[in-house]
Symmetry: C2
Subunit: 138 residues, 2 copies
């Protein structure tokens, strides 16, 4: 019962892309080097993010990936959903409907999802920048 490594890499890549100067594109080679991953593997993850509309890709020379226009609105849940899909943590294995156990589990999960839907990636970036600025001023 864990989020996949892919989700891990996706979140880190998104944060990295958001923290870049607006409009900058980065190739998968560079992104892979940062996280010490093989480019082909990371590219699968990036394609999922692209299809979800979270980043934009352009092939060819000077191509690469950049954050989509909606960077200020991207939430943790957006990224998770793009990678893991929109599944439930718990499905009742026995009852076909009206399982009270499932109801309870779903409700707890739903609240976690809502919390992750309320967390913006850009807040992480801002927080990291704020911390770094404090360090520099010391």
């Amino acid at each position: 019962m864990k989020y996949s490594n892919a989700t891990n890499y996706a979140l880190h890549t998104m944060v990295y892309l958001i923290h870049l100067p607006q409009g900058n594109t980065v190739g998968v080679q560079e992104l892979a080097k940062i996280q010490k991953l093989s480019p082909t593997y990371l590219s699968k993850i990036l394609t999922k993010l692209t299809k979800a509309g979270l980043i934009e890709s352009t092939p060819g020379v000077k191509g690469g990936y950049k954050i989509s226009r909606f960077q200020n609105e991207v939430t943790f849940y957006d990224v998770i959903k793009a990678i893991e899909g929109d599944t439930n943590l718990f499905d009742c294995s026995i009852h076909h409907e009206g399982c009270l156990i499932e109801e309870t589990m779903r409700q707890a999960e739903e609240n976690m999802k809502k919390e992750l839907q309320a967390k913006l990636l850009i807040d992480i970036v801002k927080k990291a920048e704020a911390e770094r600025s404090v360090e520099t001023n010391q």
Copy 2:
């Protein structure tokens, strides 16, 4: 990213055991038949619940499983923890400490855990009985 089938079976078994008249013991054969599982497989799950102190087991003739003394206090999270272990949904794959992504994910997960720690299994049993009683009176 799903809770295991074992957790599913464990929750259902716990609810079944709680709903029994106090002190009754049931063998794994009967419990397995109800959920259409092999006895040996279910027995692994029951052993975990026993080690966690949620149920009590007695071998031998007239032996079997029964809910432990603390049946009124058993929470959803107790059962999940007994089966899945006490792990985190998310571990940062890159940073060794102070990962802001991890912090955010952990906090959301922590709140879900707290919610599941507040949900008593016995409430499910009571609710089911209440619903059944309504049906009977119609």
